[in-house]
Point group: C2
Chain length 328, copies 2
């Protein structure tokens, strides 16, 4: 067996925890250390061989870590952390602010090229696996239309928006794709769909005592960008019910392309995910691409990369020969 | 715009015709010539700029064709043609005899390395897109199980087997995945499924006059390898009905992986195709990968490749910058 790939993790929220669990399933990898901005003593991990260290100590581990998996958020953590870590380590991250990806790519690319390291950015399922499927489906069926549906899933951004409404004590928001729309897309019809026809938004809200529920509801359903353009349901529930039924982080979705070939033949390509745990799944994708980052760097492919530049063979622990024999 | 990629086609059956249609949808490509073993005069193509030539003339076109798309069959054509053409051109083919892929790869790799050309073998949907999805899903969810279902679709090999039975004048066979099995797999249950629980086989048969239908039926359903292990239905129909309802070549299928992450969370990845025309879709995949073969060769990546070695970016006509902006 080849030597194990030595992994470091930056950030120990849901995604960091999922990454620890995902590495445990990979015999070709070894988790060396978790780096955190918190007091390292405040974090307990099961495997006593794994060090928990302050993020400022990462530089001391340059020779002991092959790939650093960055588990921070896209809003403020990654734009700052990734360029820094790309100067020291091969990295993988899940940067998901779609609109800012081109500029983020440039900054990380500059850093990684200077250090000769490989940084795979925007890894996960969207951006990530969904992006690959959008690309492949479009390339294969140029005469067609891509559709992406998300959910049923808990949306972090929209849940935050709900919780910022005055009188809301706690709450969550689920994005739910419309069955009728999916059915039409799957038929190969390639319908024109308004935003409101693709997804609905369902909120479960705990109201502060003494607040007018109707007023809270109106504030939510009329909120621009987040809810105004959608069919939005608001359900008021108790704190107990919220804890009991809405503490998991399921998600998923569909990328569907309908296209025409030859004499008007309809062809439909679909990729879908049904996830009990969004952060654990995203972490599993990050870990698989950490393998790719290591290998691409071994071959001298330095700089920023996206999932588009990674050949599938680098993502699997198996050799090209094994893959041709077993999975082709 | 970059220069167009100049394409040649070898073989003008269903797949070759689908390839002509697929190239028409790609502004970055130009079909130069079709090479055939038949009398070239016997073949008519719409676009008068496309030459139809005897296969023996291909060598004269080395400087005029960037990629040769090989549209012959896997049984006898490709094992002979691909090594020959790989000495002259970059090639793409749909070799699909799974068990013999490793040895085929070696022969083509030797030929292509000698010439410095790039040959992408076993391109299409299975092997091809399904293989990529099996690989990715296994790499991301190591603790899980892959399932591949085919159909509903017309199976060429099994239709041929039906037609070889004494007393059968004409016939077709559809492979149909079992709904119940797909449902269980989609639930993340990862069931153990016997061959007979995954697919059923439905035959539409035209009997020769004077033959005993019951005898024909028995000969089909008991045929080893092809039908004996399956639930097989045999329906006798008229020649007119066969022509009217069973002359299309639909196909499709599903690759599903259910896996567990972290604390027993179930995660399900699914890729599926619903194809009105199997050969036209396969041809569309071949054409997209012809683009990849050309680009990989431009970058000096000579030898045999499979879809596993091809980064998605090479398959799309768009630049890496456009892809990051539009599809990531």
């Amino acid at each position: 067996m080849n030597k194990q790939i030595k992994i470091g993790i930056v950030g120990y929220g849901n995604l960091g925890k999922g990454t620890v669990a995902a590495i445990e399933q990979c015999p070709d990898m070894k988790l060396v250390a978790i780096f955190t901005r918190r007091e390292p003593e405040s974090i307990q991990v099961q495997d006593s061989a794994v060090k928990v260290l302050h993020i400022s100590q990462a530089e001391e581990y340059i020779s002991e870590i092959d790939v650093m998996i960055l588990c921070g958020g896209s809003a403020t953590d990654l734009p700052e952390q990734t360029p820094y870590f790309a100067r020291l380590f091969n990295t993988v991250d899940s940067y998901d602010t779609h609109a800012k990806i081109p500029e983020y790519f440039q900054v990380v690319d500059n850093a990684a090229k200077q250090s000769g390291k490989t940084s795979i950015i925007s890894v996960g399922w969207d951006p990530g696996l969904f992006s690959i499927n959008r690309l492949m489906a479009e390339a294969i069926l140029p005469n067609g239309e891509n559709y992406t549906f998300w959910g049923k899933g808990l949306s972090q951004g929209h849940s935050d928006a709900v919780r910022r409404v005055e009188g809301v004590k706690a709450g969550v928001q689920y994005t739910v794709p419309m069955e009728e729309a999916i059915k039409r897309v799957r038929s190969g019809e390639n319908p024109a769909l308004a935003t409101s026809e693709k997804h609905q938004r369902i909120c479960y809200v705990v109201a502060e005592e003494g607040y007018d529920k109707e007023k809270i509801k109106q504030a939510i359903v009329t909120m621009p960008n987040y809810f105004a353009d959608y069919h939005t349901e608001v359900h008021f529930i108790s704190e107990e019910e919220l804890r009991a039924n809405h503490s998991k982080l399921p998600h998923g979705g569909f990328v569907i392309r309908g296209g025409k070939t030859g004499e008007d033949h309809s062809q439909v390509i679909e990729f879908s995910l049904k996830l009990d745990s969004n952060p654990e799944f995203t972490a599993s994708v990050l870990v698989a691409y950490a393998r790719a980052a290591y290998r691409m760097n071994q071959e001298g492919q330095a700089g920023a990369k996206t999932v588009f530049e990674v050949p599938p063979v680098y993502v699997s622990p198996k050799s090209a020969e094994e893959l041709r024999k077993e999975l082709l």
